[in-house]
Assembly symmetry: C2
Homo-oligomer: 384 residues x 2
Amino acid sequence: MREVAIVGIGMTPVDEHWDKSIRELAAEAVLLALEDAQRESVDALFVGNMLSGLISQQENLGALVADWTGLRYTEAIKVEAACSSGAAAVRQALIAVASGYIDSAIAVGVEKMTEARGSEVTAALATAADADYEVAHGVSFVALNALIMQRYMHEYGWQHAHFAPFSINAHANALTNPYARLREKIDEQDYAKAKMIAYPINLLDASPIGDGAAAVLLVPRETLRKNGKPIIKIAGSAAATDSIAIHDRKDPLWLRAAEISAKKAFSQAGVGPKEIDFFELHDAFSIMSALSLEACGFAQRGQGPRLALEGQITLKGKLPITTMGGLKARGHPVGATGVYQIVEAVLQLRGAAGENQVPDAKIGMTQNIGGSGSNIITHILVRE
Amino acid sequence: MREVAIVGIGMTPVDEHWDKSIRELAAEAVLLALEDAQRESVDALFVGNMLSGLISQQENLGALVADWTGLRYTEAIKVEAACSSGAAAVRQALIAVASGYIDSAIAVGVEKMTEARGSEVTAALATAADADYEVAHGVSFVALNALIMQRYMHEYGWQHAHFAPFSINAHANALTNPYARLREKIDEQDYAKAKMIAYPINLLDASPIGDGAAAVLLVPRETLRKNGKPIIKIAGSAAATDSIAIHDRKDPLWLRAAEISAKKAFSQAGVGPKEIDFFELHDAFSIMSALSLEACGFAQRGQGPRLALEGQITLKGKLPITTMGGLKARGHPVGATGVYQIVEAVLQLRGAAGENQVPDAKIGMTQNIGGSGSNIITHILVRE
């Protein structure tokens, strides 16, 4: 099993891209990653995507994107794991390069969502939940997360206002990220007054959908020489599932799949939570930030919001999270999100995150969550 | 890179399974594969599927199937490559086990199609074609294949009747396969009189859709001991893409992706077309059988039908194909088909194919085609 490094990254802004089809979005990110790596081709392409069939009436996305980027004949597939499709594609690319089956791979996450009506997007996103035992009862994806948040507040005694720092931090970081969808500063008052969606989740608890694509290019570490530039390795990668339906879980307030995948990734990388310099977590809803911090060992059970309230999650804090705006403010083009997280982690580790730079970042962690915690993939990246 | 063996297989009959949901179909095949391998769990699950989002309003199929089969918490994703999703899932499982990242994996292909209306299935299958440049013009998937067949007949001087042996052979082999969807003998007259769908493709040129699931369980070869039972290894595995839109190809009558992936698989296995004892090819339409035989080196360009007319493709011929009925008569539950092919190849190599046994089969080849030749995956299996 070979060590694998990320030598190219590319992404489009997350936005409403009315002028670009799904293949064009994906190709833009792929070509940027090739250019960044100063390469013209790769051996394989893994496309992370959740909704192209339902929203763009287009499957077979692997071959489509390969062809459109000038990689015709190159091996290519689509990987789907709901909102964790992006990280799943990166993990498949990693395994393929590590195995020796291929010598270079691109993982590109892409999603085009804003061309569909809101109700269509809501229905499409609900396919991440259990069609027979959750969606059949009329519950939407945000409503499922609202149930979790309400239970969490009841169980651990938190008020809605205690979740504000998660969203405020994400928006503050997005201000200086040109690829972010929502570059607007918000404060406690904005958060308190935001429009209710599904109690207790309001508009500023929820991440916005968007169109976008992000790509990473992977090669064996052994093929690289240190020429003064940092080498970014994938030191840990693990995935785990849980029941899709929340009611089937023993504890709906504990992300077991996050715990399993984080522990495996920590073990592979030979580090623990204390060594992590920043954490790109999956803040699709603010409650998910708290649950992720707890399951990964950064906070005690039920104490996730404390980290945020103490200011530890900002760029200058002990554990900066969502350093480029996170899902909340960079935006959440679902199948692309996991790759955005990794591209952003690479920027941090290269020291190329501009005003969003975490000082002397050496070890970064990303976590991409599919469904309401049913498919979770954790990566640890290290600057060598 | 470790050698990988198939130690468990399972499948459901291909049929209209009104009493089983998509998760139940998949679970049936997975549990049979576990039982066959005398194991209770695996490290990872790869679900090959094309249409669950469009037809069953269910994505996140990896986590869903893992949970339903008692493999909760196990790493699991869905892999999509149009009609080659099944073989793509097998290839991902193979790479994961070969890499050393995991020690055992199940690839399960599953599709549930017959609960949707015919027009919905036609629209869903068209997502394998180019939405913007083919489907936008109103062309269906069968119509695209009809264009290829008509051009082929014109270019090489074949009559429609010359394709009859492909369908007659498939139906003859399905007669004794209890898992086959169409267990009816047909002859030249039936073929000639069959209802026209899209000229020159008639009902007996086309494979039927269906519901079904098939699974294989993979482990490292090095963990197995020879106890009198044959060991079935994956000796070759390769994938390639082509443009999705047929009009973008230099030669629409040549399956370049089949040629590339077959050559790579031959090279890995250290064999050539002459060493292949049987070939499970992708006869979604009879024209595809001819094109596949040619691109893989079993027939000269434009001469695919000759092999069939000379009787070489039957169970007692020089190169038996579609030995259990193929897509044409076993049935074509699209995302599952590629795994059915591999399960059937394992039955042949184990000497467990009953009345369909190819005498002394030692080396088998399978080829799964996505789109009209845009994503093609070839496997070579060897009995040790």
